[in-house]
C-alpha cells in the first residue's frame, strides 16, 4: 500500500463545467502522475510532477491542467469538461526503483 488516496471516487458533471480531482499521498514521494484509462487505449499519461510546483506534460495533456503546491497533493483540473474526458483517472507515485504505484481511481462521467 503506497498510501495514495483519490477524491472523489466517482463524479458526474455536465459539459462545460470545471472539475478538479485530488490525489493525496502520505509517504513524501517526489514524483506524482496523472493517467487516464480508456477501453482500447490502456493507460495514458496526462501530466506529472517531479516536485512542488514542478510539472510537465504527458501524452494527452490538452484540456487538462495540474498543480502541486505541497508534496502530498497533486490536483488535476479540467477547466471546461467535455464528453471526451469521460474516463477513469488514476494517480500514481514513483517508488525507489522507478516503478509506479497507483491509487484506486476516479470514475468521471461528463454528460
Amino acid at each position: 500500500d503506497a498510501g495514495i488516496t483519490q477524491s472523489p471516487r466517482h463524479k458526474v458533471t455536465e459539459t462545460g463545467t470545471p472539475v478538479t480531482l485530488r490525489c493525496h499521498q502520505t509517504e513524501n514521494h517526489r514524483y506524482m502522475y496523472w493517467y487516464r484509462q480508456d477501453p482500447g487505449h490502456g493507460l495514458r499519461l496526462i501530466h506529472y510532477s517531479y516536485g512542488v510546483k514542478d510539472t510537465d506534460k504527458g501524452e494527452v495533456s490538452d484540456g487538462y491542467s495540474v498543480s502541486r503546491s505541497k508534496t502530498e497533493d497533486f490536483l488535476l483540473t479540467l477547466e471546461s469538461a467535455t464528453s471526451s474526458q469521460t474516463s477513469v483517472y488514476f494517480c500514481a507515485i514513483r517508488g525507489s526503483s522507478y516503478e509506479q504505484y497507483f491509487g484506486p481511481g476516479t470514475r468521471l462521467t461528463v454528460t
Partner: protein, 112 residues
C-alpha cells in the same frame, strides 16, 4: 505510434496451466520493463520488473523474460490460479526519463 505493444487483447488459460503474456517494444532506448495487473474498479498493481541488463527475473509464480535483440518480453504465470484473471499491462521506461509507457493491456481469463 505505439512504443509498447500487447497484440493479444485477451487470453484464456486452464487453471493450473501456464499463462504466457507477450509484449513487444520499438524503442531501443528502453532499459527497464514492468508488468502490472489490474482488477475491475481498482488501480493497477505493480507485479514484477526487469532491467535490460538481465534476461530473466522471477518472483514466486511470476517470471519475466526479456529478449533485447527481438525487443520482446513475456510474463509467465505458473501455475495459473483463478485470482490471476485480470488485465495485465506491460510497460517500459528508460531510467533517465521520468515516465513509463504502457501497452494497451491483455485480459487474462483463467478457466476452471
Amino acid at each position: 505510434d505505439q512504443q509498447v505493444k500487447q497484440n493479444s487483447p485477451s487470453l484464456s488459460v486452464q487453471e493450473g496451466r501456464i499463462s504466457i503474456l507477450n509484449c513487444d517494444y520499438t524503442n531501443s532506448m528502453f532499459d527497464y520493463f514492468l508488468w502490472y495487473k489490474k482488477y475491475p474498479a481498482e488501480g493497477p498493481t505493480f507485479l514484477i520488473s526487469i532491467s535490460s541488463i538481465k534476461d530473466k527475473n522471477e518472483d514466486g509464480r511470476f517470471t519475466v523474460f526479456l529478449n533485447k535483440s527481438a525487443k520482446h518480453l513475456s510474463l509467465h504465470i505458473v501455475p495459473s490460479q483463478p485470482g490471476d484473471s485480470a488485465v495485465y499491462f506491460c510497460a517500459a521506461s528508460w531510467k533517465r526519463d521520468d515516465k513509463i509507457i504502457f501497452g494497451k493491456g491483455t485480459r487474462l481469463h483463467i478457466l476452471p
